[in-house]
């Protein structure tokens, strides 16, 4: 990977972290309603993964979607504006935190019913297979999603139809507040994929370059016609499941242990150690991100509320 691309990854990871930290503040100020699920700790997964896609590759994910939206190229302004429910939000303020999408950037949404977007991903991949294009669908979901029927129906169908889809499990060890070994028959989700006869692998989700390498290899093999594959990234969320999570289900020692593997810290060390850039250079990127996020928050706060007419638009394709 070229220097510019490496620094691009760093920029994206820091941008996600700062957007999420700002979102937490805005939530505490009462400016964001509903649920807010932060991606802090998992930035390397989506950043490395989406860096490995080509423009024709579709991305679809679950409700922890702000980071994915940013990696797909949605400007921070439109992400924060959506969090604030503004007309300038990427979903016109109608979707909120869990429902961001941008069809022009091949981002097919954050989806809030656990596992329900996996069959949709099979359909997106079917769209490419049917129209004989070479796009690959990248479908992200958490470990919790592997316990719902949708997961099994979608994996099975994808294998039966040889659909060009990469199933990506972000194993962050908890489905909401229930530890994986209390909810799943196997604690490594990759074992479930083996049951569907597809190529399946596991990778460290805290190392953005490892994430990228493994994803790149699998995406290109799928593009080459090898059928669906499964990739499990071991990761961890540093914050609660959502804002207001009392976190009674895990010990602070465990969180601290994982925080030593902060994906941004790991990548920072890598870049400096390999003399890609100096500490000062990284500081400069961080300052640029601070300004970008401040601008996004200002933009979102100054943006108008959706017009009253919007209530009844978009219910159907022909308007109301």
């Amino acid at each position: 990977m070229e220097k510019k691309e490496l620094l691009g990854l760093y920029h994206q990871m820091v941008l996600i972290r700062r957007v999420e930290e700002s979102a937490a503040e805005l939530y505490q100020q009462g400016k964001i309603g509903g649920f807010l699920h932060l991606y802090i700790g998992q930035e390397a997964v989506s950043t490395g993964l989406i860096a490995a896609r080509k423009p024709q590759d579709r991305v679809i994910t679950a409700y922890r979607d702000h980071g994915v939206a940013i990696n797909c190229g949605i400007p921070a302004r439109q992400v924060v504006a959506e969090l604030l429910g503004k007309a300038t939000g990427i979903s016109k303020g109608k979707g909120g935190s869990m429902h961001m999408a941008d069809v022009n950037r091949n981002f097919w949404g954050g989806h809030a019913i656990v596992g329900a977007h996996l069959p949709l991903a099979a359909g997106l991949a079917l769209g490419d297979q049917y129209q004989k294009t070479d796009g690959v669908t990248i479908c992200m979901f958490g470990d919790g999603a592997s316990n719902i029927g949708f997961f099994h129906e979608a994996l099975n169908l994808s294998k039966v139809w040889k659909l060009p889809v990469l199933w990506v499990c972000e194993n962050n060890q908890y489905g909401m507040g229930t530890a994986i070994d209390r909810a799943s028959a196997v604690s490594e989700i990759v074992q479930k994929a083996c049951g569907y006869g597809m190529k399946a692998d596991q990778e460290n989700g805290m190392d953005v370059l490892a994430v990228y390498e493994k994803a790149h290899e699998m995406i290109e093999r799928i593009r080459g016609g090898e059928g669906p594959m499964f990739l499990e990234y071991m990761t961890y969320r540093f914050r609660g499941h959502s804002m207001g999570d009392p976190e009674r289900y895990r010990k602070s020692d465990e969180v601290k242990r994982w925080e030593k593997d902060d994906p941004i810290g790991i990548f920072n060390d890598h870049l400096v150690k390999n003399k890609v850039i100096s500490e000062a250079g990284l500081k400069k990127i961080e300052q640029e991100v601070e300004a970008e996020v401040a601008d996004a928050v200002r933009f979102a706060e100054e943006s108008p509320e959706p017009a009253a007419e919007e209530l009844f638009t978009d219910i159907y394709a022909q308007g109301g």
């Binding site: 939000g89 990427i90 979903s91 016109k92 303020g93 109608k94 979707g95 429902h99 999408a101 941008d102 069809v103 097919w108 949404g109 989806h111 019913i113 329900a116 996996l118 069959p119 949709l120 991903a121 099979a122 359909g123 997106l124 991949a125 079917l126 769209g127 490419d128 049917y130 129209q131 029927g149 949708f150 129906e153 979608a154 099975n156 169908l157 039966v160 139809w161 638009t313 978009d314 219910i315 159907y316 394709a317 022909q318």
Partner: protein, 323 residues
Amino acid sequence: MALITMREAISQALWEEMERDPKVFILGEEVGVWGGTYAVTKGFYDHFGADRVKDTPISEAAIVGAAIGSAMTGLRPVAELMTINFAFVAMDHIVNEAAKLHYMFGGQFKLPLVIRTVGGGGRQLGATHSQVPDAIFAHFPGLKVVAPGTPADAKGLLKEAIRSDDPILFIEEATLYQVRGEVPDGDFTMPIGKSTIARAGKDATIVTYSKEVDNSMKAAEILAQEGIEVEIVDLRSLRPLDMGPVIESFKKTNRAVIVEEGWMSYGVGSEVASRIYETAFDYVDAPVKRVAQKEVPLPYNRTLEQMALPQVEDIVNAVREVL
């Protein structure tokens, strides 16, 4: 005009739309090699091939979910759920995904999707395979629910549904598949969301749809022998619900009976009656009557099953009561 069965009308609509538009394809259980559980897609697999007539595993959520995903990419899937009773297995994808994605993402994704399915009782299939849950699906904004009662409507509405950019649940009635009717020749469509006068009359209005159009027609014949002329409004679509012809008819007859095959509670009759009272209260000469299925899980035994389902004489009696 040609006299054909409901099954042939639906089959023709699918065939013609697949010939017309290569983006139209079918997916579902036994739609291909088997030729369709109700033989609606017989011959399709050999003619259109496995890529366009896709047999699926018994995975209703994946069938509807994959149909939604492919529709988002611009294809025009016609997903078949073998019976509407299996739609409950795919409920999340119908109501949480299909009905919502267009609105929730600010209009970014179109969903040109048809879910064809079959409902109805009277075939001794027992409680889990005989339901008429149409009203449940009609509850959700974002979804359209179409339920034709004649071969001509079935053909015209299905062709329109396939060409529409909205997600549409197209509910067929198994006991109507053999019913024959005149169907226009050549390519034609019918607008979705338009009720129609199925029979003209002046003494009372029957509001109904799907299978009960047929039963209501039979009731009307019996009543006509007594000199009672009922007007029958066929809703054809439950969402959008076109009350125009209903209200127009009611203002003329001042009396209404609403007939549906499903259960009465929270049903189509409740909705239509409320709207009549809300918009035409000054024209009410008698309380609106509802004819519907008895509130029991439908039993297997033939006699008990028929006792639970609305019969022609129930409709006749209800009309007599409002006169």
